[in-house]
Amino acid sequence: MILVWLIAVPCIGALLAGISPRGRELRCRGVTIAAFAINLALTLALWIMHPAVLRLAGGGAWFAEFDRAWIPSLGIRFHLALDGLSLVLIALTNFLGLMAAAASWRDITEKVRFFHVNLLWMAAAVIGVFLAVDLFLFYSFWELMLVPLYFLIGIWGHEQRLYAAFKFFIFTQASSLLMLLSLLGLYFIHGRATGVYTFDYGALMGTALSPGTGMWLMLGFFVAFVIKLAAVPLHNWLPDAHTQAPTAGSVILAGLVLKVGAYGLIRFAVPLFPAASAQFAPVAMGMGVASILYGAILAFAQTDIKRLVAYTSVSHMGFVLLGVYAGSTVALQGAVMVMLAHGISTSALFILVGALSERIGTREMGRMGGLWAAAPRMSGSLLVFALASLGLPGFGNFVGEFLVLLGVFRMSAPLAAVAAVSLITAAIYSLWMFQRACHGPNSEGWVIPDLSGIEAAIMAGMISVTVWLGIYPGAVLNVTREALESLRPDITSAVSSKR
């Protein structure tokens, strides 16, 4: 039942925010923050309690479950389940939701109510995606996520918001429809083979597929997830959407939407089609490496600071793709670690960059410079997250990327070597960005207010979480190990049978 609450709290929050009276923006913001805080507390309570109390008998790695009939005639159930992987990602969702709501305090002054409704609605859908283990339910949440995001970009975005919103929606929706076809294909193949027509994840997991069919169905899922994850060559929507979205929208996009794609790969694409995934793994890993390098190079070529940060996401998410298909628990854990750490560090960068460009009215790095003296706290935070993003030890990003490289190295040393180059390129673009923004002469004579109290609090929270992930990754690794191990054997056995 607690799983239903995790989805219901943001929904109730959205309702309350929506009906709060006109002109009482404070109440609306308060409701939103309260909803995220309650949800975060629930998630953390689950996290702390999990080892002792919440083990479902015979339920694999699931901690909690909720299962009701929904559309019986098609074998569709309202089936939610939580394991370690879902748990950490839901914690991330609520944390970033809280940060996004706080960051929009100054940023969003028009249509405040509708903004917060969308933010909460979006969070509810993302949490639903992380919890659903019925494929139809999963698809519903998956799609539901798009509409509020479309509004967030299209209504509160920057100058080219409509173009970016359209591009985002059509890219993702078209790919989702492919996934829908695959999903239905799997449903019918499973139904014909066993006589049981069901969308249940556990039941569909063992479906026997001919290699050709398996590959096509897998590709349907893969394309949908990889478009969300924004791996080269399907990353095209990302720079526009991230750059044009308002700060909170960028936080959601970078912190959650990309992670949803990675989650889909880990939870569905690979375990449902182990053989096809193993066959496809080299291509996927190639895409991962290509994303790492291509994203880094393009990031370096940007003059728009927000676009730069957007391209770094492509690069970092390449690590996730690499880790998912490397076929070892270590790499998979590394991928999850990258997801969390990147979610926080990139979101923080977007908040900082958003605050900066709002103050000086431009995102062009050519016009920045010398801001350290003008806004030391802001510049300091920017430095911290630039360092985190480039993979400095002590931050979560380092742990994640290191584990991925470790896992990949065992499978293919050359790939690991090429991917490791990114540690250099990341250092180049991160430091370059920081240097251009904060060092050098303040040629335009910027005098800007430093971080406000709320912004400073956001930064303090985000820095402490990143550092915590970096110095005590065990907290995450322990809680996700069991889940990832239960998702892994399919990968390794299939990969090793291929070898």
């Binding site: 539901l144 919103a165 429809l177």
Partner: protein, 478 residues
């Protein structure tokens, strides 16, 4: 005709009687409220009578009509849609001045024609129903006789519908020549005895498809749609888009189910080609339109193309898929035109997409409802449209119609673009001169009730479709 026949024909008798009553009422006393109320009560009674007589189904009433659960389900849907259109029309015409009562008379007649159509089992009743429907539609479309586009649309529909009726008649004659019988039922029996399709039968069926294809506005018989959607008063358009097309589709589905479409036959290939063309052209042409009603007109072409997938699928899921999709489509399209009609009645102005800029900020509830309707048409989850589309895809895949399913998916993705464009315009920054003008009230009671109910149903059918699915399964699945 025996008593049982009269009983089972009760829904049709009520509607027909109401038409007479409304006519008499108008000739004695012109009252918009009274006329609309009588219409609404009669249609509501017709819905209830459908439920009452369901126990006596199936029954063949005379040689012409069969009232099985299939017919009764769609009759109920048509009458319910008629209720919604009546309420929207009341909201719309309350703001007009002259000759508004006749609208309800024509509406009742058109509803009657549609109900006859879905229960027809004989070429004669088919033609009868179609003509009652068409003749009423001519007048409904041209109802604003002082407005040129409306009259032009009416005349256009008159000419094209007459031509299509001629095709239909000729097709019937050819089939009669071959079979010597005009009932659907008997013809099937003969069909099973007749080994091959003779040229006469083939030609007759082709002409029949042309006639029905015109009613459904399938490519290449779609030319009339945008102008008529644009010219007719919005409540009439809501009726054409939903009931008139739905009834023709239900008839086609019955005919095809009875005769059986052999996969690989010429007919199924032709229908598949029409479906593919409708899906693609409908969605592509809608991209180029600047007016909301024309966009919806082209989108309706695509939606009828989607529905043809259910006709071709013909598996156990297909009938349910078609039923669910029709319910979802009725709800969303009547709702959409309901909002267009409410807006046009109050704000006036053009029908361009840009005229809707900021509408959702001026009227949050109406804007939200319109958003929900458009998302349903686009097939986004927790709206009825998604479940409908999901069922269609499932039915198509069940029958291994890979090409059609892929086309459905691809063209839906194209279709998203124009729905999204309208939605985002609703939430765009309002124009400066509009900002000051507060229009109160946003919607009248009747219109508000209808739109609230439609939105509620839309979400309900999308979020918890199990009860409706059970009903459809029981009524049309068998």
């Amino acid at each position: 005709m025996v008593r049982g026949d009269f009983f089972i024909l009760l829904p049709l008798i009520i509607t027909g009687g109401a038409a007479v009553a409304v006519m008499l009422l108008i000739s004695f006393r012109r009252s918009h409220l009274a006329t609309a109320t009588v219409t609404l009560v009669a249609l509501g009674a017709a819905v209830i009578s459908v439920i009452c007589v369901a126990a006596a189904a199936p029954r063949q009433a005379s040689a012409l009509l069969i009232l099985d659960s299939y017919a009764l389900f769609y009759m109920g849907l048509i009458f319910a849609a008629g209720c919604a259109v009546t309420m929207i029309a009341y909201d719309y015409f309350e703001r007009q001045t002259d000759h508004r009562e006749e609208f309800y008379l024509l509406l009742l007649l058109a509803t009657l024609g549609s109900a006859v159509l879905v229960s027809s089992n004989h070429f004669a009743s088919l033609f009868l129903g179609l003509e009652i429907l068409s003749v009423s539609l001519y007048a409904l479309i041209a109802f604003h006789r002082e407005r040129l586009p409306s009259v032009e649309a009416g005349v256009r529909y008159l000419i094209l519908a007459a031509a299509s009726s001629a095709f239909l008649l000729f097709g019937m004659a050819l089939i009669y020549l071959e079979r010597g019988d005009m009932t659907f039922f008997r013809s099937t029996q003969i069909a099973s005895g007749v080994p091959a399709w003779s040229p006469l039968l083939l030609a007759g069926t082709a002409l029949l498809i042309v006639g029905i294809g015109f009613k459904l506005a399938l490519v290449p018989f779609h030319m009339w749609t945008p102008d008529i959607y644009e010219g007719a008063p919005p409540p009439a358009t809501a009726f054409i888009a939903s009931v008139s097309k739905g009834a023709a589709f239900v008839l086609l589905l019955r005919y095809v189910t009875l005769f059986g479409l052999h996969s690989g036959s010429v007919q199924s290939a032709a229908i598949a080609a029409i479906a593919v063309a409708s899906m693609f052209f409908g969605n592509l042409l809608a991209l180029r339109e600047e007016k909301v009603r024309r966009v919806l007109a082209y989108s309706s072409i695509a939606h009828m193309g989607y529905l043809l997938v259910a006709i071709l699928a013909a598996g156990p899921l297909a009938a349910v898929a078609a039923g669910y999709y029709l319910v979802a489509y009725f709800t969303s399209i009547i709702g959409s035109f309901g909002i267009i009609s409410v807006r046009e009645g109050r704000e006036g102005g053009g029908d361009a997409v840009s005229d809707y800029r900021g509408y959702a900020w001026r009227h949050p509830w109406l804007g939200g409802a319109f958003t929900a309707m458009l998302l349903s048409l686009a097939g986004i989850p927790i709206t009825a449209g998604f479940v409908g589309k999901f069922y269609l895809l499932a039915a198509g895949l069940e029958s291994s119609l890979r090409l059609l399913v892929v086309v459905l998916v691809a063209s839906s993705a194209i279709g998203l673009f124009y729905y999204l464009r309208i939605i985002i315009t609703l939430y765009g920054p309002p124009e400066a001169e509009r900002q000051g003008a507060a229009i109160t009230p946003a919607v009248s009671l009747a219109g508000g009730v209808a739109l609230t109910a439609l939105t509620f149903l839309l979400i309900w059918f999308g979020a918890y479709p199990a009860p409706l699915l059970r009903l459809i399964q029981a009524m049309v699945g068998g």
